[in-house]
Amino acid sequence: MRQFFVFARKEFYHIFRDKRTLLILFGMPVVQIVLFGFAITNEIKNAEIAVLDQSRDYYSNRLVQQLQAGSYFKIDQELQSHQAIEAAFKEGRIKMVVVIPPKFGESFFHLHKAQVQLLADAGDPNTATTLINYARAIIGNYQQQLNGPQAMPLTINTTVRMQYNPALKSVFLFVPGVMTLILLLVSAMMTSITIAREKELGTMEILLVSPLPPAMIVTGKVVPYIALAFINALVILGMGVWLFGMPIKGNIVLLLLECALFVLTSLGLGILISTVTDKQQTAMMASMMGLLMPTVLLSGFIFPVESMPLPLQLLSNVMPAKWFIIILKDIMLKGSGLRDIWPQSLVLCGMTLLFVTISIRKFKIRLS
């Protein structure tokens, strides 16, 4: 046991003396989660729009207020005529124009239908579609408020996901994926590099000649990183909550335990990588490329697993990230307990055990 502490202390020296690695360990997750979180989001905030309200009655006024109420739209201009629309778009700042024709309230109550025209700058079709959808949803809400089974030509788009993400906030779908990805990369990379480094520098030979059992070498190297990776997990979790407004509906202790479990899985994966590589560079590339691409593509992070062809669906089961994303989403968004997510947790436990066993095996072979 004393040997173990001696070893772990040495490992901490390595970590804290190597400022560059330390920066990667703690800087990378923060930067990446911000980049991923904000860049890969298709959510739109404070989009600048213009309104051409030709009816200017009580009801049209309220509609305009509702559009403004959320954080999606910011009304930049009040246009006076149709001719002004073209000019407003050309300025480039306005992404959408809402045109309310004359006698809006009157036609709504007497003719049972009113019209609202939405003009979007389709130069960026994705943004345009999103804006239109948002506006439609808001108008649909308004229509319901006005108590109309009366037919307005606009209805709310409903999808299954609405249930847990009423505003269709894409952040809720991305953040668990981003958190998982970063945690996996950082943890796996850390261990694989640290072990590869001993091999590259030749100090691994000295360790193997010493009476330290191989399992002790592996655990001695990895345990300090468990602590670091867990701190990382807390940072990532904190950013998800405070920066992106992810809720934590479930039990926080369970959530932390699951994070710890996933950290172990990732570290195990890192050890496994390090047993087959002798160079830090290779270890880094293997953990970056070998884990990044399959995880992004197959874990359900960006592309839903359900819509993949069967062989890929089966393959996705091998991705530890897939299971952790499910766990995160379930605990954070749905408030699930262990009763709901034990199968996924069990899969992660199994994977961890498998990785560590294979690693120690392989490690021993090199020794004798």
């Binding site: 001696v6 100090t203 009476p211």
Partner: protein, 240 residues
Amino acid sequence: MHPIVTKELTKKFGAFIATNAITFEVKEGEIFGFLGANGAGKTTAMRMLCGLLRPSSGEAKVAGFDVYTQADKVKQNIGYMSQRFSLYEDLKVKENIRFYGGIYGLSNNVIKEKTKQLLQKLQMEAEAEQLVSALPLGWKQKLAFSVAILHDPSIVFLDEPTGGVDPVTRRQFWDLIYEAAGRGVTVFVTTHYMDEAEYCDRISIMVDGRIQALDTPRQLKAQFQADSMDDVFLKLARGK
């Protein structure tokens, strides 16, 4: 009983025979030089003796323990220093000593005492708190050797310990080796510096996985009618 005894020790990597049935013994307190060209099988032989590689066939006993079945005991009783650095560059001198003492199970008090002695002997007290990366190459090697025998092993294996340093520093390094041997430590050293070979009590020369010659430097020179070990080595290498 001899500290190192081998009989027909062989290591094959696939069809390649790295070490071909070598048989020799090393006496207690002896400085045993293990010579050979690159790829002659020196390092492979040494690794088998240290328990880093499993022999394909043959027998070997180190410090009285069998390398197949008692590798753990072997490891407790040997020190090892390799041509690549045995020290952690990003650790301070003191921390390196403490780490190696720790993994060999020395108590804190013993480590403290030994650290003091060692730094005094190497005249490195002033550098105790310096990172190893800041030391000159020769100092690192002397330190690495001292660390390798910190736990008082009965045998120390040195794999080309003086690669890349000047003759003066090499001489100083050998003073350390003599001193250890004088205390009864058996020294097993590989090298390809022929001047170093002259410092050894006995030498074996490996060619293509076999031991082609084994004797004292003086006897070998007589046997091959050579003026220096350099000549002995060249004659052997050419003669194959």
